[in-house]
């Protein structure tokens, strides 16, 4: 195990890594920007080093500053947390060249899985289902009709240079495909100066289901079950849970095996996540690999009893996994709510500032991961997460009841938070029955909900 580790992050995840290190007897060096000088978690580090001003580019994203801190503090390894430099292959390479262990997969793995097309090819080679699509671009109407015949409807026409929904058309049959094909090309040409388009099956009402994996440097990989992250708003996850209410035990085994195959194909070691879309017919499609620890790793910790951050440190230091898939048993049901300093009434604008009062809930089944406290001032420079509220109960219904109880107890005075929205989501019948999909939040609670939500 490492003697001394630098934590190249801030807030909740910096605190989380420091906690894991303390429990393993590993010394910690916390770096911080001037905006975070008052943070309480810094007191738990063995050494703290100010690396720059509030702006991330000059502090938490400043590779020379961080490496320099690592060198003067004489650490053996760097934990990047999530966000900032966590999936920066160049940073991982610099660490390597400085003989500092980057706590995460190899730079080559980070680069490979970070490249959409390469990751897709890797998945296909590993027999992991991907969203069916044209083999490259589709240049004419006839070609589009032929490909659609192979893939099936509904199908999506997507601009190769696209983004933000432009140059994108969904077609449910041949006539709408022909129209959509020409419309998408024209829009793509106008918007991006490039009319190249390709076709992909349109996955309707999907769920977002991801599998946590752990691998060692010997190539042994296990999965820790899945997390269902279908409660999203504009691709920002709000609520995560494990196990997913949408998976049968058989499908869980199958999805887990696919994730392990994908990880092995990418020579993945350390902790990572393989993300899938799951459609209402239980077909699943690989989307991407997250080559880092994720915010929602904690729900997996609750149901498996495995401390994923401690495992990251252990595996990065070269230890073998030491257990097989059989040793992983899921127990009970865990839910995580992200408590953000955002104003749901103002389109989720960040609502930073002083926490005049902060009393987290507690008691049975409740876990709180937060770096905040009464009197703490949330800096406006970084993300708006106040903390993660987690519950772990024998079953999903019990977990929902405990979460509602805990949300009701949570006292946060000062900034506006997402708590009222979370409360409404947890009370919604679609969530209660577990039949929601990734469109749920926008459908019922968006700025222009397609179906009016319950009274607020």
């Amino acid at each position: 195990m490492f003697r001394r580790v630098l934590v190249a992050n801030r807030g909740e995840i910096a605190q989380r890594v420091i906690r894991a290190c303390r429990e393993l007897g590993v010394e910690t060096v916390a770096v911080y920007s001037e905006a975070d000088a008052d943070a309480l978690y810094l007191r738990q580090a063995d050494e703290t080093i100010c690396i720059g001003p509030a702006a991330s580019a000059a502090s938490y994203l400043d590779i020379p500053a961080i490496i320099s801190a690592a060198e003067i503090a004489d650490v053996e390894a760097i934990h990047p947390g999530y966000g900032f430099l966590a999936e920066n292959a160049h940073f991982a390479e610099v660490c390597e060249s400085c003989k500092i262990t980057f706590i995460g997969p190899d730079p080559a793995t980070i680069a490979a899985v970070g490249h959409k097309a390469r990751a897709r090819d890797m998945a296909i080679a590993a027999d992991v289902p991907v969203v069916p699509g044209s083999d490259g671009s589709v240049d004419d109407e006839a070609g589009a009709v032929r490909v659609a015949g192979e893939i099936g409807y509904p199908i999506m026409v997507k601009a190769a240079a696209g983004g933000g929904g432009r140059g994108m058309r969904v077609a449910h049959n041949e006539p709408s495909l022909i129209n959509g094909f020409h419309a998408a090309r024209a829009e793509a040409a106008a918007a991006f100066g490039d009319d190249t388009v390709y076709l992909e099956r349109f996955v309707e009402n999907p769920r977002h289901v991801e599998v946590q994996i752990l691998g060692d440097r010997n190539g042994d990989v296990v999965h820790l079950g899945e997390r269902d992250c279908s409660i999203q708003r504009r691709h920002q996850k709000l609520i995560e849970e494990s196990p997913s209410p949408a998976l049968t035990p058989e499908l869980r085994t199958e999805l887990g095996a696919a994730a392990v195959r994908m990880a092995k194909a990418a020579n993945y070691h350390n902790a990572g996540t393989v993300e899938f879309l799951l459609d209402p017919e239980d077909r699943y499609y690989f989307i991407e690999v997250n080559a880092r620890i994720q915010v929602e790793h904690s729900v997996t910790e609750l149901v498996t009893g495995i401390d994923v951050i401690q495992e990251q440190l252990r595996l990065a230091s070269g230890e073998a996994l030491g257990y097989g898939q059989d040793a992983i048993q899921l127990r009970g049901h865990a839910i995580e709510c992200r408590i953000n300093a955002e104003d749901p009434d103002r389109d989720f604008q960040p609502s930073p500032g002083r926490l005049d009062s902060f009393v987290p809930p507690g008691g049975p089944g409740v876990r709180v991961d937060s770096h905040c406290y009464s009197g703490y001032r949330i800096p406006p420079n970084y993300d708006s997460m106040i903390g993660k509220l987690l519950v772990h109960r024998a079953d999903r219904a019990g977990a929902i009841r405990t979460m509602l109880r805990a949300l009701d107890e949570f006292v946060i005075e000062g900034p506006k938070t997402t708590i009222p929205l979370l409360r409404r989501i947890l009370r919604h019948s679609d969530f209660r029955t577990g039949t929601h999909d990734t469109g749920f939040v926008e459908r019922y609670f968006g700025a222009h909900p397609t179906i009016p939500g319950p009274p607020r």
């Binding site: 000088a37 007191r43 738990q44 080093i49 320099s68 003067i72």
Partner: protein
Amino acid sequence: MDLKLLQKILRMMSRGDVRELEIDDTEAGLRIHVRRGPGEGEGQPAQPVVQWMGGPPAMPMAGAPAAAPAVAPSAAADGDVAGDDGELPPGVEEFPSPMVGTFYTSPSPDADEFVRAGDEFGEDTVLCIIEAMKVMNEIKAESIGEIVEVLVNNSEPVEFGQPLFLVKKR
């Protein structure tokens, strides 16, 4: 063990020219005993003795020699290394480090220091070098004035914002 606390204490001792300091804080489970410089008639080097029982540093200091500047217990004790401004004489200000790295007072081990206490400097005067990732960064004064004190010893690590010099600007 909170090295930042020790670092602050050592810096205060250095400024206050304190030779020996003992702290025994049973509340925080902390005992610190520091002697600076060669011991009189003992010839042994400075030997800090530190015992740390964990927990957030509470820092009520006992037994500090009268020469040491008083330290206010502060919740942000760790965070703010430039927080002693109140003690500076009028007109004197701190020159903070613009980066994390290793501080060098001279361009090479054998060369003279860039500046010493009492030296005057101009905008382009190099005050020190800070090494970060094997790169030697010359730190220029970017103002006109006089060095009152060099606060950091040669080849010591410094963090962003850490006071390197006390200066009097014109």
